[in-house]
Symmetry: C2
C-alpha cells in the first residue's frame, strides 16, 4: 500500500503540483480506504489525523486530483458526490439503505451489449453508465 502511496505522490509532483500536508493526507486516505467517499467524509477523516482542513480546500484538491487522474468522481443516486482512486477497475455499487455503507462489486455481466443495442434502437451514443443496487447489507438485515 505504501508503494502506491509513493507512486501517486510522484505522479502529483510530475504534474507540476506541490506536495502539501493536505494533499499527502488525502492521497494516503484514498490508499487506505478503498470505498468511494464524500467530501464530508474526507474532511472528517483528515480531522481524525489531526489535520483541520477547510472544506473549500478539500473541494479544490479533489477537483485537481480528478484532473490529474489520481481519483475519479462518482455521482451517486443518493445525490452525493463521492471520490475514489481511479486506478480501480470499472465496477458497480451496493448501497445499504440503512447504514449508508457502500460496497463495490464487479459484475461479470457486460453492459456493452446493451449499449450497442441502445445505439441501434435509440441513436443515443452512450459514453458512460451508472449501475447501483439499493438494499440491506448483511449487518442491517
Amino acid at each position: 500500500m505504501d508503494r502506491l502511496n509513493q507512486k501517486l505522490i510522484e505522479k502529483l509532483k510530475k504534474s507540476g503540483e506541490r506536495i502539501t500536508p493536505i494533499r499527502r493526507a488525502l492521497i494516503e486516505n484514498f490508499c487506505n480506504h478503498p470505498k468511494p467517499q464524500t467530501p464530508q467524509e474526507l474532511l472528517t477523516n483528515l480531522e481524525k489525523k489531526g489535520l483541520m482542513a477547510n472544506k473549500t480546500t478539500v473541494y479544490r484538491q479533489l477537483e485537481i486530483l480528478v484532473q490529474i487522474g489520481i481519483i475519479q468522481e462518482i455521482n451517486f443516486s443518493d445525490r452525493s458526490k463521492r471520490y475514489e482512486l481511479s486506478s480501480k477497475d470499472h465496477h458497480h455499487h451496493l448501497v445499504c439503505q440503512n447504514c449508508k455503507k457502500v460496497e463495490d462489486i464487479n459484475l461479470d455481466n457486460d453492459l456493452d451489449r446493451q449499449e450497442k443495442k441502445i445505439w441501434k434502437k435509440n441513436h443515443f451514443k452512450v459514453l458512460q453508465h451508472s449501475l447501483e443496487f439499493f438494499g440491506l447489507c448483511n449487518r442491517c438485515q
Copy 2:
C-alpha cells in the same frame, strides 16, 4: 389521457386528500409529460399554465403524491430528484450530457439474475436498483 387524469384524481380523493387547483395541475402535468421531471421543472410547467405556485407547496405535494402511490421518486445520478407517474413499468434512463434531456428505455435484459448472484456472493439484499446511461442524444451528436 383524460381518463387517466380522472382516475388519478379519484384516487387522490379516496385517500382523503382535497382537490386543489395545484394538485389538479400537477396530476395533469404528469399525465401529459411522461418523462421524469425535477421539482423545478414542475414549478415552471405550472407557471406556464398560469399557476404561480410556491416551491414549498410543490415539494409537499410531491411527497404526498408519492405516499399515495400516484407518482414515484427517482434519484438520478446527476444528483437531481425526479418524479414520474408510478404506473409506468420499471425502466432505465438515457441522460444526454449536453442538452440534459432524459429518455426512458426498457431493456429486455433483466437484472434479477444479477441480484440473485449478489445475494449469494455478498449477502446483500437488493431492494431496488438504478441504471442510467450517460452520453449524447441523436440531436446533440
